[in-house]
Subunit: 157 residues, 2 copies
């Protein structure tokens, strides 16, 4: 694979040019937000390292770096919940990515079974009393036990 | 301010309950994606520490942690580009936030002058030749020199 990333030389180059010069953090990662290309909903927040970004550009299917499994993660390889990439955006200082995707299969992206990982809302306003999250999806789209079997849960305490 | 965050005890509590038990990373931060509540477009990616999340919940205006300035950042305090929060979502493992906001003033969120920080697209497909980013906004919404004056540019190489 040729190196497709440019060296970062100036602020103007990074912000105003058409050169792809991404910046990965001290762990070699950048945050990636993924939205449903049809509804605009945010589906998930993930991370990419250099290889995951290259694979996403090359294949048109979303790849991430799994921080819990510490490996390249072709989304859907286990679950079938493949994300077809319709657009890849990079931000002003080129240290984060926005993927617009179409969902295949179960039309879901969340390992808990919901369509979006962001299925709960924090009420705005009074912080003097206990905050209760509100569920924004009425029911799960799939049964995670059927899809993932006994694969370890990626959520860490 | 009372402590509004619960201790993280079990995966089930974190994923399936209505308790707010957020997880900040080793730097005390979590990534935050901000979308335009009207258009669904992703405007920016930022970070929140505990205080920024609390302030956002309490005031209904977006607060972030500025990694370049190393301080609490009330978005719009300098530029006037206030973000009125319509919805705060938290993800399955409670380590990232999605803010849906309405823009006031210039209807822009990007310090370079564009409406969205994600004003450039990476073409999907051939990585054998040089990648050219494509600009997706025709022109800037405002002149950053007029809005920010000689404030230091937050973009780091």
């Amino acid at each position: 694979m040729t190196d497709i990333f440019k060296e970062r030389k100036t602020v103007e180059q990074v912000e105003e040019s058409s050169e792809l010069a991404p910046k990965f953090d001290e762990n070699g990662l950048m945050p990636v937000v993924t939205t449903d290309a049809n509804t605009g909903d945010v589906l998930m927040m993930g991370y990419q390292n250099e290889e995951a970004l290259k694979k996403t550009i090359e294949t048109g299917e979303a790849h991430y770096w799994s921080r819990s499994r510490k490996c390249l993660w072709h989304k859907g390889a286990t679950s079938g919940l493949i994300q077809k990439v319709k657009d890849i955006r990079i931000d002003d200082d080129q240290d984060s990515i926005w993927l617009k995707v179409e969902l295949k299969g179960l039309e879901a992206s969340c390992h808990v079974g919901y369509k979006s990982c962001f299925y709960r809302s924090i009420p705005v306003g009074n912080i003097k009393q206990d905050i209760e999250l509100k569920f924004k999806e009425d029911e799960k789209t799939f049964d995670p036990n059927e899809v993932y079997g006994d694969a370890p849960n990626p959520t860490k305490l």
